[in-house]
């Protein structure tokens, strides 16, 4: 990612919510992150991880207990939402039910005191952008979920915000529509050149759409990087587990060279592994291997791991092999199906597993 100007920067942001009981709930714990201009940035994590809280702090619906939020270098944390050049697409769209599609889209411009003619032409422009021209005088209750989604987008984009916040905007749509809207969102971001901050719990959505993403858990940001970096080089167990399928192996570090570590696995063999940024843990470590970075071989070969093939699941494009290792744990190998069929493995037979170069990585925790 080119180091552009930072559009939004959170510095040491902590947010406490006074819960029903005596103790406060820490929704965000000393979070710092910098989001670049024109970037499609995703906050990814399970529900309750603090991603929506961070978004609401940027929007101004809540105020941080500690820390500051900078918009192009200016602290906006104390400003009310109507003084921030930031707009939000709400999870359930929150369209005004008493207004038409066009009135919804024009609302922000009207509140900014733009002249009527400018508002009208901008509304038409937005309607074209989201391809909703023919529905402009409909009430928002008379249009479908996907159309409401487009209106919500147009409404938030119309005042030309510096940053657009999207709070799980696709979660209410069915699968097909969601796929279409993902592409639509990327197109809109490209066309408008506005910084998008997108919140989701759907890892696939995060990987396919983002320029960069931050994986969050329990009020903290665990890792920030491009989808490629996050997927191939997860730094922590949570990240590896949350995104995609992963195999975990226990072992001990025996030697460290530049950017590599030799790990003696508990199962016997010693393998070379990639190391996480920012230091290695000492002693026993966890090594991760993605299922598609491993290969299944006949047991006789020079396999890294040995086990018994337990289940074969056919997925069309690929096949998943579940291998029971000597210590009883399961290891999954995913192999692409080639034309004419792969080498066939019988369930119950002894098999070996090999790793691609650089497939194995040591985790921080």
């Amino acid at each position: 990612m080119a180091a552009g100007r930072s559009a939004i920067e959170a510095r040491g942001v902590t947010k406490l919510f006074q819960g029903a009981g005596q103790e406060a709930v820490k929704a965000l714990d000393n979070v710092s992150v910098s989001i670049q201009e024109n970037e499609f940035f995703t906050l990814l994590g399970p529900s309750g991880c603090g991603k929506t809280t961070l978004l609401r702090l940027i929007a101004g619906f809540d105020f941080p207990t500690e820390g500051e939020i900078l918009l192009y270098g200016e602290d906006i944390a104390p400003l009310p939402p109507f003084q921030r050049p930031v707009n939000t697409v709400f999870q359930n769209y929150a369209l005004f039910p008493h207004m038409t599609v066009a009135q919804n889209i024009g609302f922000g411009l009207e509140m900014l005191g733009k002249p009527k003619s400018e508002t009208a032409s901008r509304v038409d422009q937005m309607l074209r952008l989201v391809r909703m021209e023919e529905l402009k005088s409909r009430k928002t209750s008379q249009i479908s979920g996907g159309q409401q989604q487009r209106v919500a987008l147009a409404r938030a984009l119309a005042p030309q915000p510096k940053v657009l916040l999207l709070d799980e905007p696709l979660s209410a749509l069915d699968y097909k529509l969601r796929k279409d809207m993902q592409i639509e969102l990327k197109r809109l971001q490209h066309q408008t050149g506005i910084t998008f901050i997108f919140v989701t719990h759907d890892q696939e959505e995060a990987l396919t759409m983002s320029d960069r993403l931050a994986v969050m858990s329990k009020g903290k940001i665990l890792q920030v990087g491009s989808p490629h970096e996050i997927y191939d080089r997860p730094a922590e167990r949570f990240v590896a587990n949350f995104i995609g399928e992963t195999n975990f192996l226990e072992g001990e570090i025996v030697a460290v060279t530049a950017g590599e570590a030799k790990v003696k696995l508990a199962l016997g063999p010693t393998i070379s592994t990639g190391v996480p940024e920012g230091g290695l843990p000492k002693g026993s470590v966890t090594v991760v291997v993605r299922p598609e970075h491993a290969n299944l071989v006949k047991a006789a070969g020079r396999a890294t791991l040995a086990g018994v093939l337990e289940t074969v699941v056919y997925f069309g494009t690929d096949t998943h092999y579940h291998v029971r290792l000597a210590n009883g744990s399961e290891f999954i190998v995913r192999q692409q199906n080639s034309h004419g069929g792969n080498e066939s493995f019988k369930t119950g037979s002894k098999v070996g597993v090999t790793f691609d170069d650089g497939a194995a990585r040591v985790l921080k925790d």
């Binding site: 929007a59 101004g60 619906f61 009310p80 939402p81 109507f82 930031v86 707009n87 939000t88 709400f90 359930n92 929150a94 369209l95 005004f96 039910p97 008493h98 207004m99 038409t100 009135q103 609302f107 922000g108 509140m111 900014l112 009430k139 409404r155 938030a156 005042p159």
Partner: protein, 307 residues
Amino acid sequence: MASVREAGEATVRQDVRNRWLLSAPALSIIFLAALGPLFIMLLYSFMVKGDYGDVKFWQFSLDGWFKVILERDIFDDSVTFADAHLSVFWRSIKLSFATTILCLIFGFPTAYFIATRSERWRDVWLFLVTIPFWTNLLIRTFAVQELIRNEGIINSVLLRAGVIAAPIQMMFTDFAVMVGMVYVFLPLMVLPLYASMEKLDFRLVEAGYDLYAGRFQVLRRVIVPLVRPGIIAGSILVFIPALGAYVTPRLLGGGKSMMLGTLIELQFGQGRDWPLGSALSITLMAIVMVALLVYVRGVSASGSRHG
């Protein structure tokens, strides 16, 4: 096929019959207790008044209706407007309208406050709002009297503090009637407003703020249009009983600040003019209906203007 359709029609007929059976008790109460007396009133308004109250049956006369707004001079038989009655009509409409507006002004923030509390506290606040209903209206009105009469709490405190030299005359004024009515009718405004606001999706309020609307704009452009049903219901619930209020204007307004309720009561009591009382009652009903019609029309028209 035919038998299936017949069976279906039989079910529908059964449903219709059941519906009538179920609503029969309510319908009979409405007919007997509401429409019946109304019909009697209508009849009485066209009769000749009896000498000691009551009416002279089957002696038709338009006198009752004539006297609603007109009066005949006892010396020269010239017909003039009955100023006394007209001023009572005007005061009733004016005070009821002012009461409705004041209830809205006080009730709206109250309802908003309650609707934005946590669920547990909402119940507590709603409970507090309904507490006045536990006490008899008469006693509550006497309590207001105790506050505002010349020897009442407000005047004696102000006198003792030296703020005023003589007690402020509040009793038997329009002001007293209005204060009493606002106090009595406020819960009737708060409750329907709250019911509307509770259903209000506060994400829409956030969306308003997000789209650069300040607090007043969010109120005007988002909240008020969305709680309009509550505003309509509350205004109707306050305006109609205020127009016909009897106890409050009687005790706080007396003969000086008389409203329609007292005027009507007077005809059936000391006035011994039942036809006039009946005609006044029906006139009151007509005013209510016209006001309702105008109000609902106006509100829905302004509603569609906003989109």
